[in-house]
């Protein structure tokens, strides 16, 4: 069940530029973690760090391997928490609280499914992609990144995923925001799940509101969180249904319901 766990690191590697993957051994979390869920990770590893990281960091359960009883996280080094985590190695113990957040269930009527990933959005989407592929759905991934070095490696995706890419510099796929690919695939799509930077999600929201995007689009939101448990009220999102917390009510939200104008001041 959801709780505090000390997990042993099985492996840690860099899968793209500045993007790290850590695999943990944990039967409990492998059985309990569902797509959409996340962990609050204590980034203070071992005794060697000279600068402590005070708050835990919310990181999505990237993938689950029930057979091996392993789970993984995927993160980019963006600050001192992720920097400390990137230095963890096999054998280190990491303290996590989880799994947290509301699991995402793909409706049984869905046959064609599209995932839109901007940057590290893929970290949260992959476990859902694995479920979709396992169910033999037609899966398309639209992956965007700054450049080809930062894209999640295609060979790590499960077989059967059709991937289209977009980069800011054109080093892979089209040279445009990843949202430009949506129009090419939406006709045959039952639902879209998107995760990435706020401007990307906002662009999809606007497309949904102005009618360019007609498919039901679910955004997986991310936020700074102090607790991840619903207590600190840090990860608020303003929606048509009132204020919601990403940690308790999310991370999945219908993008049409988000009120961007009163929300998410730029960081």
């Amino acid at each position: 069940m959801t709780g505090e766990h000390k997990l042993e690191i099985i492996s840690s590697d860099q899968v793209a530029m500045g993007v790290f993957r850590i695999v943990f051994q944990s039967a409990e979390l492998a059985y309990e973690s569902k797509p959409g869920q996340f962990l609050m990770v204590d980034c203070n590893i071992g005794q060697g760090s000279n600068e402590s990281v005070f708050l835990r960091r919310p990181l999505a359960v990237h993938r689950v391997d029930v057979e091996k009883e392993q789970i993984s996280i995927l993160f980019q080094v963006v600050g001192k928490g992720t920097l400390a985590l990137s230095k963890a190695t096999a054998g280190d113990l990491i303290d996590v609280i989880g799994p947290l957040g509301r699991p995402i269930e793909i409706d049984s009527s869905v046959e064609n499914i599209v995932f839109v990933s901007g940057g590290l959005g893929i970290a949260s989407l992959t476990s859902l992609i694995d479920v979709a592929v396992g169910r033999n759905l037609k899966v398309t991934l639209l992956a965007g990144a700054r450049n080809s070095y930062r894209l999640y490696p295609s060979q790590l995706l499960p077989r059967g995923v059709t991937e289209m890419t977009a980069t800011d510099d054109g080093s892979a796929g089209i040279r445009a925001p990843v949202t430009h690919l949506v129009s090419q695939v939406q006709e045959k799509t039952d639902i879209i799940y998107a995760c990435g930077p706020l401007p990307m999600l906002k662009a999809l929201s606007e497309m949904a509101v102005d009618g360019t995007l007609t498919v039901n689009t679910i955004g997986l939101l991310e936020s700074q969180m102090a607790c991840g448990l619903g207590i600190c009220k840090g990860c608020v999102v303003d929606t048509d249904l009132g204020d919601k917390l990403i940690c308790l009510d999310g991370p999945a939200f219908d993008l049409r319901e988000i009120r961007w104008e009163s929300q998410f001041s730029p960081v």
Partner: protein, 305 residues
């Protein structure tokens, strides 16, 4: 050591009987914590501050890392008194320990109205006045930053609420002692201190502040020495009980606050990172009292050199 019977920890704050001196700090506790720690063992239950009417908090981002602590600009969102009584109070009451309701307001009459309403509810055993709210009548300054305004506020609450009243002091003042004295002389049963320290964070990539509205409150172990000093100072000038808080993470920290003069202590930010902290401290204080042959942990209160 796990002790089931914390016989050396009980205390009284006015007419309020507490099984032990370890409380959650308002804003850092909710029913969600129940899945991680034994909330029935706490000294009291203190929910997030409620306002008379619903109010939105600040835009996100609302929290940020700081050295040995965190910044928050949550802005005390509240669904109001009615929602609290209809949808939330039962969860808190079912936890067992006495319920202390933290109240906030944007003007004096909001606090007074809340006090009057809550006085009628027998399950509410005490109230804590959160005076770190912007006072609209005074140009947005914290209502607790002026001894005269605070005395008027507390006096009005005490006249409308016949059970213990705890005034939670803001550290963002020239002299917290003057404010504590004002709280005592206007009828406060106890004071709690400190609330968060006013602070900001700046993103090195630009000029934009770390949190949604810029202005934030700093909490966590970074503020512990300041909080300790304020408790120590205030204790020399008042005789009502002090609930000490500010960066307490473990039994050692809790003992320091008791030595500085606190009768009880509250845990705030640590609940976010280590949800079982309060229980560990209750265990730790009982062990300390047993090992040092104290009749009660209160025996060392204020026993600073």
């Amino acid at each position: 050591m796990i002790l089931d019977d914390f016989s050396k920890l009980d205390l009284k704050i006015g007419s309020l009987d507490l099984a032990n001196p370890v409380l959650p700090a308002s804003g850092c506790f909710g029913p969600e914590l129940g899945q991680f720690t034994k909330v029935s063992s706490l000294g009291a239950i203190v929910p997030k501050t409620i306002f008379l009417h619903p109010r939105k908090g600040n835009p996100s981002p609302r929290t940020a890392e700081a050295p040995y602590g965190m910044l928050n600009s949550v802005g005390i969102p509240s669904k109001g008194l009615e929602d609290f009584l209809e949808n939330k109070i039962q969860d808190y009451l079912s936890m067992g320990p006495p319920l202390i309701v933290s109240i906030g307001g944007l003007n004096v009459s909001d606090y007074w109205d809340l006090a009057e309403h809550l006085n009628e509810i027998s399950h509410v055993k005490a109230i804590e006045i959160n005076v770190s709210c912007p006072n609209i009548e005074e140009g947005g300054l914290e209502i607790g930053s002026n001894p005269k305004n605070l005395a008027k506020l507390v006096d009005g609450v005490v006249n409308r609420f016949s059970k213990p009243v705890i005034t939670k002091l803001t550290p963002n003042v020239t002299s917290i002692t003057d404010i504590a004295v004002a709280a005592e002389s206007s009828g406060s049963t106890a004071v709690s201190l400190i609330n968060t320290l006013a602070a900001i964070g700046i993103n090195p990539n630009g000029k934009i502040l770390t949190t949604g509205i810029g202005k934030a409150g700093l909490s966590g172990p970074a503020i512990k020495p300041i909080a300790l000093k304020m408790v120590w100072e205030v204790n020399k000038h008042i005789s009502i009980p002090i609930i000490g808080m500010g960066g307490i993470e473990n039994t050692k920290d809790a003992l320091e606050f008791i030595l500085a003069g606190a009768s009880a202590i509250s845990i705030g930010t640590a609940n976010f990172t280590r949800p079982n902290t309060m229980l560990e401290i209750i265990d730790g204080l009982e062990s300390y009292a047993v090992e040092n042959n104290l009749n009660n942990i209160q025996d060392i209160r204020g026993e600073i050199g």
